[in-house]
Amino acid sequence: MSADRRARVLALLSAHGPGVDRLCAACVAHLPGISGAGLAVMTTLPASGTRYVSDEASARIEELQFELGEGPCVDAFAAGRPVMVPDLSGRQYQLRWPAFAVGAVAAGVRAVFAFPLQLGAIRIGVLDLYRDRPGGLADEEIADALVFADTVTLLLLAEDHAEGDWQVSAYDEHRTVVHQATGMVMAQLGGTIRGAFDRLRAHAYAEDRPLDDVADDVVKRRLRFDQFTD
């Protein structure tokens, strides 16, 4: 993480964390071009739950996608990339999601921006932002939305942890060695990729070591996770 981006993430977490719903509310407040937000949590489709909605229109977006199994949120999660829809009344979107587009527009939703919450194969949900009038997001808004999505991702990943202090430590979750170590730990322990990532982070936290240091030990085969019994 660049110092600037990390500072923004930490500031958001300090101001609004650890509750993910407070963070989502802050996202809506902080992005003037956004009318509302919804947070869907899932490890596979269909969504297992909606963790947050800011208003009725957001609730309707989540409801429609869950019921119909179609929509920008569904596509964003499946494809592992954001889906940005500047105007839902546009023909290509009506063709792509016929039932969703009609229902969403009827609820007052004109633009939707779905950001998958993910770290490679670790997929935990989608953050859906909407606007009640057509128009795309400006570069600054995209950057801000991505930082919010990253922060929500970190918060959700920390939730399962008995990490007491959920504080985002000074690691950069985007180091290559961290991803490789995650895969290795998954192969060592069995279980899910998310479980492997959680174990790595828990170990780093317990040992008070940076995550990428621990990851380096794993990749260099100085540390294995099948010898631990906890």
Partner: protein, 240 residues
């Protein structure tokens, strides 16, 4: 003549990847390797802007961890960061002489045995979406023809990444870039799984992954996902 032949082969190989089932991770990996062949440099790395103000490593011609670390260090301080901010080719042509702009990076790059480092922008009209980073043993500027070809390869990377012509839509750019960045993470995670299961180093694991993807005409990221989901049998993945 040999260089022209290499160049022709490089462009054919790259063009082959620009098809319906485009595999962005593989494409950038091929490009990084071809830079080493064509430009007389020792190591090439491709960084992409993550749209949150930072560069991230997307592909490297070498899997050696010390080189990956060097690339990742340069993301915070180095010619590639300056190139990203200014949009101009930026170089340190003599790593032995400390440069106040990147003291830590300069020392580490020099200690790794390189004489110079050159950063070329990936440009999309007025926007810089990434950097092509070249490490050389020689402590001198790139030759003119190498600098020109390097920029041409960087431009090919940009074209390959952004397959929509109507890129005035910021949304499409965001979708493509974020998708590419996440695909790479997925591939790195799968490399870890393979390395552990088949008792391989990371370069061999990557090679096994690529070989399987090519043999079965599938995308690296799709194979990577299948490995992590457990829907593919990895016991017969070859490592050579």
């Amino acid at each position: 003549m040999q260089r022209e032949q290499n160049l022709a082969e490089a462009f054919v190989e790259l063009a082959d990847t620009l098809v319906a089932d485009f595999d962005v991770v593989d494409f950038l990996h091929v490009l990084a390797n071809r830079c080493v062949d064509l430009l007389g440099v020792q190591t090439a790395g491709l960084m992409l802007a993550d749209q949150r103000g930072q560069l991230r490593l997307m592909a490297s011609s070498s899997e050696q961890s010390r080189l990956l670390e060097l690339f990742e260090l340069e993301i915070d301080e180095g010619p590639c960061l300056t190139c990203y901010h200014t949009g101009q080719p930026t170089a340190d042509t003599n790593l032995e002489q400390p440069d106040a702009r990147w003291p830590r990076f300069g020392r580490q790059a020099g200690a790794a045995g390189f004489g110079s480092v050159h950063a070329l922008p990936l440009r999309l009209r007025a926007e810089i979406i990434g950097v092509l980073n070249l490490f050389c043993a020689a402590a001198e500027p790139l030759r003119d023809q190498d600098a020109r070809m390097g920029q041409a390869l960087a431009d090919v990377a940009t074209i390959g990444l952004l397959q929509h012509r109507a890129i005035e839509h910021r949304q499409v750019l965001a979708e493509q870039l974020q998708g590419a960045l996440n695909s790479r993470v997925l591939v790195e995670q799968a490399k870890g799984v393979l390395a552990e299961r088949l008792h391989l180093g990371m370069p061999e694991a990557f090679h096994a992954l690529r070989t399987h993807a090519r043999r079965n005409n599938q995308r690296l990221s799709d194979i990577a996902q299948a490995i992590i989901d457990g829907t593919i049998d990895t016991t017969h993945f070859v490592s050579s």
